[in-house]
Amino acid sequence: METKTILICDDDEGILDMLEIVLEGSGYHIVPVQNSLMIYDIIEQEHPDLLLLDLWMPVLSGDQVLKSLRKNPQTHELPVIVISASRDGQQIAADAGATDFMAKPFDLDFLLKKIQEYLN
């Protein structure tokens, strides 16, 4: 079975570290992206199977990223789980075209279950 690649885009280093530990432990190939401006290039290079995307990020916010991804035919169908601590995150995510949403802080088992769902 080929290793699935998950892109994690979050400006918070702690969350990137933590998710990397967890998801690599579950057998995924993880690409952390701290600067959201880099995300388009990295998607080109890595062809991820799934994107975990934060909302509140400096310069380029998660919903802006998501909206442009949805406009691009190559990433139109990419499963994107928005992870956000914002109270209105779920609404913003849905409006921008997210596949799913998880409020921070989330339960790891629940996150893994969701990831599995979208990768199978």
Binding site: D12, G14, I15, D17, M18, L19, I21, V22, G25, W56, I83, A85, S86, R87, D88, Q90, Q91, A94, A103, K104, P105, F106, D107, L108, D109, F110, K113
Partner: protein
């Protein structure tokens, strides 16, 4: 003296003596006291008095004849009527006075004295005749009346003064309040405004009084919402409170105002006048918004590291080697539990702030109610090893509601069911459709809630006394849930008895007609 003809009496057609007797008897029969004084003698002494004069004065004839009338005034000499009498006697004129006299026993009586001179052919005054009536009762009534009038007048003066004072007092209150006040006549013409109105809306009293409200300041008060309030709402819903109007004024900019309007229904001169109190909440709203913004940012920033901590603790829980003591595992579990509690506190702070400022935003969307409940239960179950949550029933309905808020309520109720029943493992969730509502219930086997607390637990910052020691918290979770459900047009309630567990339920309206068509 028509009956005197040629010095001869002819009243009785008998003798002069008989006539004389008749006249004396007539005088004695009079109820008016009658005296004659001889002005030619020194000190003008009384030379005749009838019976009535004895009765009125209380003196005997023998004590009267030969005295000047002044003995009747005793020591009470300082009466202006005496001066009038003296003048009349001096000038030989008629005179009528009410004079204070005293009976023999010293009691006062008011004497209405008619005094008239009797002149001889040369015009010289020989005698005076005095006719006296005891008018004490009338005088007393007059005096009483005068006194009453004086009292009334004094009272009127006092009342007028106090009315004036209370008017000034009310006016000073009206001018002091930090709220704009307008009084309109039934045709919406401005009768008066207070200083605060003039200051806030930068107008003068001349530009305002007597003008139609809608015409003020070149029609800047011609506001659709205000028109609706005055012409449509107020006539049928009097008084109107907390009516919000937002308007962009040409000179002072955008204002957010809260209005109370009251049409006077009392019959009388003020009937149908309209009072409007305007509170400018533009700044307050802005401050509230900034507070909400600040709390949004603060809670976001607090939750971010919390997410990492929670994830790392969960990683640790998975990586625990089998030989590690149960105590160590329990410590890890507890750490996770307190992270969740901290997370809830952060979320609640923001929610309470938003509910208080009325900024709880509902993003209503149609969603599958059963699915949402199942997902929420699944998420909680995934994080809870200690309890087993079972779902029974279905509603098979979609609801139009804010899913994230409804899920928040479900999470809160489930967390409570687990938190307050640490020794019982079973939590049952029941979903159903009742009439045109969906109903969610969660039943725990916990400690239960006393009847008197059933309502109070939904109050803000209310904590059941004995709970606080075992389960610390801020007491806002259920308050938020209640507000969210209320905002959706549903109800949230509890059925519980101490020691027998609790069932928390809420309903949400389905946006379609009831089956029976009502």
């Amino acid at each position: 003296m028509d009956s005197l003809q040629n010095g001869t009496f002819n009243i009785s057609h008998e003798t002069t003596k008989e006539d004389f007797n008749l006249l004396l008897q007539a005088l004695d029969a009079s109820i008016s006291g009658i005296i004659l004084t001889d002005n030619r003698l020194p000190d003008n002494p009384i030379i005749y008095c009838n019976k009535a004069f004895e009765t009125i004065s209380g003196y005997d004839r023998s004590e009267i004849i030969g005295h000047n009338c002044r003995f009747l005034q005793k020591e009470d000499r300082d009466q202006k009527e005496r001066q009038l009498l003296r003048e009349a006697i001096k000038n030989g004129e008629n005179c009528i006075v009410d004079i204070r006299n005293y009976r023999k026993d010293g009691t006062l009586f008011y004497n209405e004295l008619y005094m008239s001179p009797i002149k001889d052919e040369s015009g010289k005054v020989g005698y005076f005749i005095g006719v006296q009536n005891d008018v004490t009762l009338r005088k007393k009534a007059e005096l009483d009346l005068r006194q009453q009038q004086d009292v009334m007048e004094k009272r009127i003066v006092e009342r007028t003064k106090s009315l004036k004072e209370s008017e000034d007092y009310l006016a000073s209150i009206v001018q002091t309040v930090r709220e704009s006040l307008i009084v309109l006549d039934p045709e919406f013409k401005v009768l008066s405004v207070n200083d605060h109105f003039l200051k806030t809306f930068k107008v003068t009293i001349e530009d305002t009084q007597g003008k139609l409200l809608y015409d003020l300041g070149n029609g800047q008060w011609n506001i659709a919402a205000l028109k609706e309030l005055l012409e449509s709402i107020l006539p049928t819903n009097n008084p109107v409170e907390e009516f919000e109007v937002e308007h962009d004024f040409p000179h002072i900019g955008k204002k957010l105002m809260v209005l109370n309007a009251h049409r006077i229904e009392l019959e009388g001169q003020y009937k149908d006048r309209i009072l409007i109190a305007i509170e400018d909440i533009t700044d307050r709203r802005e401050i509230e918004r900034r507070k909400d913004d600040f709390l949004s940012i603060a809670s976001h920033e607090l939750k971010t590291p919390l997410t990492t901590i929670k994830g790392l603790v969960q990683v640790m829980q998975r990586m625990v080697p089998p030989e590690v003591s149960d105590k160590f595992k329990a410590i890890l579990d507890k750490t996770g539990m307190y992270i969740d509690r901290l997370n809830n506190l952060i979320a609640e702070l923001l929610d309470v702030s938003r509910i208080q400022t009325g900024n709880i935003e509902l993003h209503k969307d149609s969603f599958d109610f059963d699915k949402a409940v199942h997902e929420a239960v699944e998420a909680i179950q995934a994080a809870t090893k200690s309890h087993n949550i079972q779902i029974t029933g279905t509603s098979n309905e979609k609801v139009l509601a804010d899913e994230s808020h409804i899920v928040q309520v479900i999470n809160n109720l489930l967390s409570n069911a687990i938190k307050y029943a640490p020794d019982h493992k079973e939590v049952i969730v029941y979903i159903s459709r009742v009439s045109n509502y969906v109903k969610f219930s969660v039943k725990d086997q916990g400690m239960g809630i006393k009847q008197e607390d059933h309502k109070k637990i939904f109050d803000r910052f209310y904590r059941v006394g004995e709970i606080q020691q075992r389960f610390p918290g801020m007491g806002i979770g259920l308050y938020i849930c209640d507000q969210i459900i209320k905002n959706h047009g549903g109800t949230l309630w509890v059925e519980s008895e101490p020691g027998k567990g609790s069932t928390f339920s809420f309903t949400l309206p389905l946006n379609k007609p009831q089956p029976d068509g009502n």
